[in-house]
Amino acid sequence: MNARMTCPFCRREFDAAQARDACKGCRSGGGCQNVKCPYCGYETPREPRWIGWLRRRLGK
C-alpha cells in the first residue's frame, strides 16, 4: 500500500511515492528530502520514518 499524503497548500491528496514524478528533471536528484505536490508544486519535507512507524503502531 503506497503512502498517501495531503498537500498542506491545496489540500489535494496524492500518492507520496508517485509524487516523485513531480520532481522529474530536478537537478537535486531527490536529495532534498522533500515531497512535491503534483497539483500545485508546493514542497513539504518527508516525514521521518519513525513517525510513519508510530502512526502504524497507533493505528492512525
Binding site: 497548500f9 500545485c40 514542497e43
Partner: protein, 671 residues
C-alpha cells in the same frame, strides 16, 4: 443460493453479490470514479464483496481493484479507478483513470460524490457527462449530509444533469440496491452540455470535426486537447497519425492565440459558474453560525482592505514576537549563554586541550572559529531555535489554510512586479530556505516569472534563520526595525517592478480552488515542524562545519586574514567597524552564518543602532549562500546566475551605503 451468498445478502441487502476470485471477465465494465476520500472504495466493496482482484495497471505502479456483482450479470466487471479530481490528468493515478475512461469497454460510469461537498465535486460530474458515456451519480455519505441539515433536491438535480442521481451510504448499504437497479437499466448518455464561450466553442467544434467518435465523445476530447492534455494528444497521434495530428494541433494553437488566457482557465470558470447555478437550484444548506464565521474570516483574509492589515498582524505576532522575540531572544539566550558559553564550550576547550596535542587541530576543533566553538554553536544555539520557532509558526499558518488566501490576496500586487499569486509558493518557501525555493520557481508558468522570482529570492527574501537573528538583533529598536523592513521591502518592490518593465513577456492568470479554513491540528503542526527542523538541520550542519574547516585552512594559509583585509574597506564604507568584516565574510558563504556573526559582534557591544541597521540591511540583501548560487546556475544558466550574483552584491553594498549616508543626514530617524 449458496450459504455464503445468503449471509452476504442478509448483511448487505439488495446487492446479491457473487463472491469469486476468478480472473476478471471480458465484458463491458462499470467504472467507479471520483475524488479521493468520497467512500468510493467502500462502495466498491459493498457492490463486489471481499473477493476482488487487485493488480497494477499495466506499465504503472497504480493499483486497480476489480470485482463482480452477480446482480448485474457474471460477465460485468466493476472497476474501482484511482481517485481523480478532474478529467485533465496530472498524477499517474489520474492518467490511469483517464485511460480507463477512454480505452475500456465501458458500460457506464458511476461518479461517486461526497454529498456534503457537492459544489466542489459537481464540476467533475459535468466533465464526465460531456464524455458522452452513460453516467450515474451516487450521492454518497448522504447520511452525513442529512445530519448536517443539507437538503438536496435529488429529482431536480437528476433532471438538470439528465442522469440518474441516487443517494447512497456505502458504509450501511443505504441506496446501494437502487444504484444497482439504475446500473442495470444503463441510462442513455445525457444531452447536458456546458457553454464555454464563443472562442473556445469554435475551437472545440473545429477540432471535434476532425476526431472520430470513440468511447469518449469528440467534443470532450477536443476540450481536453485545447486544455493541453498530453495524454489525449498521444491518443490522437496513435489514432490519426502525424499529419492529421499536426493539423489538429494547429487549430489548438490558433485558438490559444485568440484567447487572453489559457483555455483551461476559461473551461474552469465556465464549469464553476454552471456548478454554482446547479447548487443554487438544488441544494439547501442551513446557515450555521460556524460557517458564517468561516465565510466572514475568508472574506476578511482575501479582501485588500482587511487582508493586508491581517498580514501585518500575522507578521507581527508570528515573526516579530514569536520568532524574533521568543526564538531569537529567549531561546537563543538560554542556549547561547547557559548551555554553550558557560557549559559546553569551556568543557569542550578543556577536553580538546587535554586530548589533542597538535595546536592547529585544537584550533580546528575548539579555537575561535572552531567546529565546536563556532560551527556547532551557530547551528545549534543560534539557528536551530530560530528555525524551530519559525517552522512552528509556519506550520500553524499552513494547517489553517491561510497560505492559499495569502496567494489570492497578493495576486493583484504581485502582478505589478511581474508575478502572480502562484509566486507566493516559492516566496513563502524562501523564508524557509531560498535554495529550495529557487528550485520551486519552476512551478511558475513563464520563463519571465521564474527569472523575476529567482532575482527576488536571491536579493530580498531572507531565510528564516537570518530573519530570526535580524529580528532578534533589531527588536531593541522599533525605529531600526522599521527602517530595515522599509528598505528591504522597497528594494524588493523596486527590483520586481523594474524587472517586470525590462523583461518582456506575457502575464499569466492565477486561479485556484480555496480549501476551507480550519483550526490547526496539533499533531499535524508538531510533525511538520519536527520534519522541517530535521531537514534544515541536516542541510546546514555540514555546511557550518565546512565553513569552520575553510576558515581554519584560511587561517593556516593566511588567506582568511587577507580576505578580511580586502573586505575591511567595504565595511568601513558602510560606517561599520573593521571587526564586522568577519561577519560579512561569513555572509559570503551563507547569509544566516553572517547574521550569526553579526549577533556575536552585537553581543560583544561592537555595534551602535545605526551600524546594526546598516549591517542588517546589507547582509539581508546578500546572495543567500553558495548552494543558492549553484541552483541558480543550474536553473537559469551560468551567465544569468553570474549577472544576478553580481547585481545582488552591488545592490547590497550600494543600498547599505545609501542607508548609512541617509541615516547620517537624518539621525533623528533612529531616535
Amino acid at each position: 443460493m449458496s450459504l455464503s451468498t445468503s449471509i452476504r445478502e442478509r448483511l448487505f441487502p439488495g446487492t446479491n453479490v457473487a463472491r469469486s476470485a476468478q480472473a476478471p471477465a471480458a465484458g463491458p465494465a462499470i467504472l467507479l470514479v471520483g475524488n479521493p476520500n468520497v467512500g468510493k472504495s467502500a462502495l466498491f466493496n459493498r457492490l463486489t464483496g471481499q473477493y476482488v482482484t487487485v493488480s497494477n495497471y499495466p506499465g504503472t505502479t497504480v493499483e486497480i481493484s476489480r470485482g463482480r456483482c452477480s446482480a448485474l450479470g457474471a460477465d460485468v466487471e466493476i472497476i474501482d479507478t484511482p481517485g481523480m479530481y478532474s478529467l485533465l490528468p496530472i498524477t499517474d493515478e489520474e492518467r490511469v483513470a483517464s485511460d480507463m475512461l477512454s480505452g475500456a469497454d465501458v458500460r457506464c460510469v458511476v461518479h461517486v460524490l461526497d454529498a456534503k461537498n457537492l459544489d466542489r465535486m459537481l464540476g467533475f460530474t459535468l466533465q464526465l457527462i460531456e464524455t458522452g458515456l452513460p453516467v450515474l451519480v451516487a450521492l454518497n455519505m448522504a447520511d452525513e449530509a442529512r445530519d448536517l441539515g443539507i437538503k438536496i433536491d435529488v429529482a431536480r438535480l437528476a433532471a438538470i444533469l439528465g442522469v440518474p442521481v441516487i443517494p447512497t451510504v456505502s458504509i450501511s448499504g443505504e441506496g446501494v440496491a437502487d444504484l444497482v437497479a439504475a446500473i442495470k437499466k444503463t441510462p442513455p448518455p445525457s444531452p447536458f452540455r456546458v457553454e464555454y464561450g464563443n472562442l473556445i466553442e469554435e475551437g472545440i467544434a473545429g477540432i471535434a470535426g476532425r476526431l472520430s467518435a470513440g468511447t469518449v465523445a469528440a467534443r470532450a476530447r477536443a476540450s481536453l486537447l485545447l486544455q493541453g492534455d498530453s495524454r489525449e494528444r498521444e491518443r490522437v497521434l496513435q489514432e490519426k497519425g502525424d499529419l492529421e495530428t499536426a493539423r489538429i494541433l494547429q487549430i489548438v494553437a490558433a485558438t490559444r492565440t485568440r484567447l487572453n488566457h489559457s483555455p483551461h482557465y476559461y473551461v474552469t470558470l465556465a464549469l464553476r459558474a454552471r456548478v454554482d447555478q446547479i447548487v443554487a437550484e438544488c441544494v439547501r444548506a442551513p446557515q450555521r453560525a460556524p460557517n458564517r464565521f468561516r465565510a466572514a474570516l475568508d472574506r476578511l483574509c482575501t479582501h485588500p482592505l482587511t487582508g493586508y492589515p491581517i498580514v501585518v498582524l500575522v507578521l507581527y505576532f508570528a515573526l516579530y514576537k514569536f520568532v524574533g522575540g521568543f526564538g531569537a531572544g529567549t531561546l537563543v539566550n538560554f542556549l547561547e549563554e547557559s548551555v554553550f558559553k558557560h557549559t559546553l564550550i569551556p568543557w569542550a576547550v578543556r577536553g580538546v586541550a587535554a586530548v589533542v596535542p597538535w595546536a592547529p587541530l585544537r584550533s580546528l576543533l575548539a579555537g575561535e572559529y572552531g567546529i565546536i566553538t563556532l560551527g556547532l554553536r551557530y547551528a545549534v544555539a543560534i539557528v536551530l531555535p530560530i528555525v524551530g520557532t519559525f517552522f512552528l509558526a509556519f506550520a500553524v499558518l499552513e494547517d489553517t489554510g491561510y497560505l492559499p488566501r495569502l496567494a489570492l490576496l497578493v495576486d493583484r500586487g504581485f502582478k505589478k512586479i511581474g508575478l502572480n499569486g502562484r509566486a507566493v509558493i516559492p516566496i513563502v518557501l524562501g523564508f524557509g530556505c531560498d535554495t529550495m525555493a529557487t528550485l520551486v520557481t519552476r512551478t511558475l508558468e513563464t520563463r519571465r516569472e521564474r527569472l523575476i522570482c529567482t532575482i527576488l529570492l536571491a536579493l530580498a527574501i531572507p531565510c528564516s534563520a537570518q530573519l530570526g537573528v535580524i529580528l532578534g538583533l533589531l527588536s531593541g529598536s522599533g525605529a531600526a526595525l522599521a527602517v530595515w523592513a522599509g528598505v528591504v521591502l522597497a528594494i524588493m518592490l523596486l527590483t520586481g517592478f523594474l524587472s517586470a518593465k525590462l523583461l518582456p513577456g506575457e502575464q499569466p492568470m492565477f486561479y485556484m480552488e480555496l480549501p476551507p479554513l480550519r483550526l490547526p491540528v496539533l499533531g499535524n503542526v508538531l510533525i511538520k515542524t519536527y520534519s522541517r527542523m530535521v531537514w534544515y538541520f541536516r542541510e546546514i550542519l555540514p555546511l557550518f562545519i565546512l565553513a569552520s574547516v575553510l576558515i581554519w585552512i584560511g587561517q593556516i594559509t593566511s588567506i582568511f586574514q587577507l580576505l578580511i583585509r580586502c573586505t575591511e574597506p567595504l565595511v568601513r564604507g558602510l560606517g561599520l567597524p573593521d571587526q564586522a568584516a568577519v561577519a560579512f565574510l561569513f555572509g559570503f558563504f551563507r547569509r544566516d552564518y553572517g547574521a550569526a556573526g553579526l549577533y556575536d559582534l552585537h553581543k560583544a557591544g561592537g555595534l551602535t543602532v545605526h551600524q546594526l541597521t546598516v549591517a542588517a540591511i546589507t547582509l539581508t540583501l546578500f546572495l543567500p549562500c553558495i548552494a543558492q548560487f549553484l541552483v541558480m546556475q543550474k536553473e537559469r544558466g551560468t551567465r544569468v546566475a553570474l549577472w544576478i550574483a553580481a547585481g545582488v552584491f552591488v545592490t547590497a553594498f550600494a543600498v547599505g551605503w545609501l542607508t548609512h549616508r541617509a541615516l547620517l543626514l537624518l539621525p533623528w530617524v533612529l531616535g
